[in-house]
């Protein structure tokens, strides 16, 4: 009995300290963004909003913010279209092409992003897409599409396909039966997939580092190059915004389905 209590306490202390370690770096970022000095120290000696004011006065950061949004929406549109249509097609298919599709879509996630970055850099040079939004969007879609695709596979596998057959038998065409029967049942899944695609694009920086130019660099890319020059709380301010956006997306995704389901889709 006594031994069990010790084990229980040790186990609880173990996972709670891991949880603290998981959240601590994010807490550090948010807290240091309110630092009054130009030094990055945790905890800061004095607190102020001076770095937030600086952020909203900086054309450099605001431009990067715009770039991130453009790339994020582009990636979301592309990845969602590709992922949803392919997962839908695979559900109707009996699995010849489909069985090849999953590994092909998954593979880019396992290739180190530096290699993907230089590969695409060479390729886009060759076909004349260098340093455009399009090149970054296409690269990010390589990572975002698998997420949408696997989320949708899991959503479609839970859908009762006899409903679609019934609609067809009652005379609905392919488009209207999809719009009226399938879509209402899977729209939460599509929404979560799209949200994840947006977040992936917003956060990715290694590929964007290679593919962006001065005019198209995204927030993480600018943060990275600023960091290598000096460590000041500005990066914390920017990071706090990115964390807030992730929190918001997570809250929306959790409302649409639930946290447990969202977590499983990410693994």
């Amino acid at each position: 009995m006594h031994r069990e209590t010790v084990e229980n306490v040790a186990f609880r202390a173990g996972y709670l300290s891991i949880m603290a370690c998981l959240l601590l770096p994010l807490v550090v970022v948010v807290v240091t963004s309110f630092s009054a000095s130009g030094q990055l120290a945790f905890p800061p000696e004095n607190y102020s909003l001076v770095w937030y004011r600086e952020f909203f006065a900086s054309d450099l950061w605001l431009q990067a913010f715009d770039n991130s949004i453009v790339v994020g929406f582009g990636t979301t549109a592309l990845a969602t279209t590709l992922g949803v249509t392919a997962a839908f097609g695979q559900e109707l298919d009996d699995g010849r092409l489909g069985s090849l599709l999953a590994p092909l879509v998954l593979l880019p996630l396992l290739i180190p992003p530096v290699i993907l970055g230089i590969t695409l850099l060479v390729y886009f040079n060759e076909i004349g897409l260098r340093a455009t939004y399009t090149s970054i969007i296409l690269a990010h879609a390589l990572w975002a599409t698998p997420l949408v695709y696997f989320v949708m596979r899991s959503v479609f596998s839970r859908f009762d396909w006899q409903q679609l057959d019934a609609a067809r038998d009652l005379g609905a065409g392919p488009i209207s039966s999809f719009a009226h029967v399938v879509l209402p049942n899977v729209k939460h899944g599509i929404f979560v997939g799209a949200l994840l695609a947006f977040i992936v694009s917003l956060q990715e920086f290694v590929m964007a580092l290679f593919l962006s130019s001065h005019g198209t660099r995204t927030i993480p890319v600018l943060a990275w190059s600023e960091l290598r020059q000096s460590l000041d709380p500005m990066v914390s301010v920017v990071s706090t915004f990115l964390i807030l956006i992730s929190l918001l997306a997570l809250a929306l995704a959790t409302l649409a389905t639930n946290l447990e389901w969202v977590s499983k889709q990410l693994s």
């Binding site: 069990e4 173990g14 996972y15 891991i18 949880m19 370690c21 998981l22 770096p25 994010l26 550090v28 970022v29 120290a41 945790f42 590709l82 249509t85 392919a86 097609g89 695979q90 109707l92 298919d93 009996d94 599709l101 593979l107 880019p108 180190p112 530096v114 290699i115 230089i118 590969t119 695409l120 850099l121 060479v122 390729y123 060759e126 879609a141 396909w161 057959d165 019934a166 038998d169 392919p174 956060q203 990715e204 920086f205 290694v206 290679f210 943060a223 990275w224 290598r228 460590l231 990066v235 990071s239 990115l242 964390i243 992730s246 997570l250 946290l259 969202v262 977590s263 499983k264 693994s267």
Partner: protein
Amino acid sequence: MSDTASSLPGGLERVWEPLRERSRSKRSLLLMLPLVAFELLIFLAPFLILLRISVAEGASASAFAEGTWSLGAYANVFTSDLFRSIVVYSFLMGLAVTVITVAVALLYAYAIWRAEGLIKSALLFSVVLPLLTTLVIKTYAFVPLLAPSGTLNDVLLSLNLISSPLQIVPGTAGVIVGQVYIVLPYAVLAIYSVMATMDWGIVEAARDLGASRPRSFLEVVVPQAMPGIIVGAVVSFAWSVGAYAAPALLGGGRDQTFAIQVEEQMLTGFRWPTATALSVVMILAMVVSVALLFAALNRFGGEFEYA
């Protein structure tokens, strides 16, 4: 799915069914085509070009000499001491990160599985949020925490636990801490998603039969969670061997991973054949080691299952 068709009169069904199947299959091909085309154009085609450049000759005036063939870049990669030490560092770092990550992730996934209500949500949340946060932030947050004048050293010094600051960042220890932090959420979720399908009754049975808690965990939970552990280990390993951000930001001069080297050869040195050959070698080495890891862990899991 064929239920509706089978309700048709017998003769009609025989004609209708194959027709229906064919049109369905064509339509499904059409739906999959955009994604297939995208992967071919944006993933496979670029890799063929990468392969082509890796067997071209280097040139002094440009990135590579077009139209030439040479295995010089590969010879360079295999004979250079610098590249050898970089590859060794990348793999050892990847291995260390994988071992630590899987051990911590197992414990944490188990905690999520056993928890209920608010605690379960809190544990899941603490995994998903870092997962959705950019690499740049995740690595940079460790600088004020672990640097010689950082928070950890301040605390340890003021408690008189150490007499001089620990050199964690910049350094190999810092790289490993940062990289574990980056891959841990993936491993936790991979293991948890398998655990969630497991039956708690088996663990209870083992305990009723006299197994201690650690023993029931190691001999009942771990073998059953093997599929998740394998996925977690493969992801941790692949991402750590190819790591760029953590070594670049938290490492010292000796923490050169091949990803940093590829970037240098490519953008600073402008030696594309060398950079691409290094990439190709690295991908192949990774594929082989991931396959070995798969096989080893599978075997390990199998042995445990029958013990």
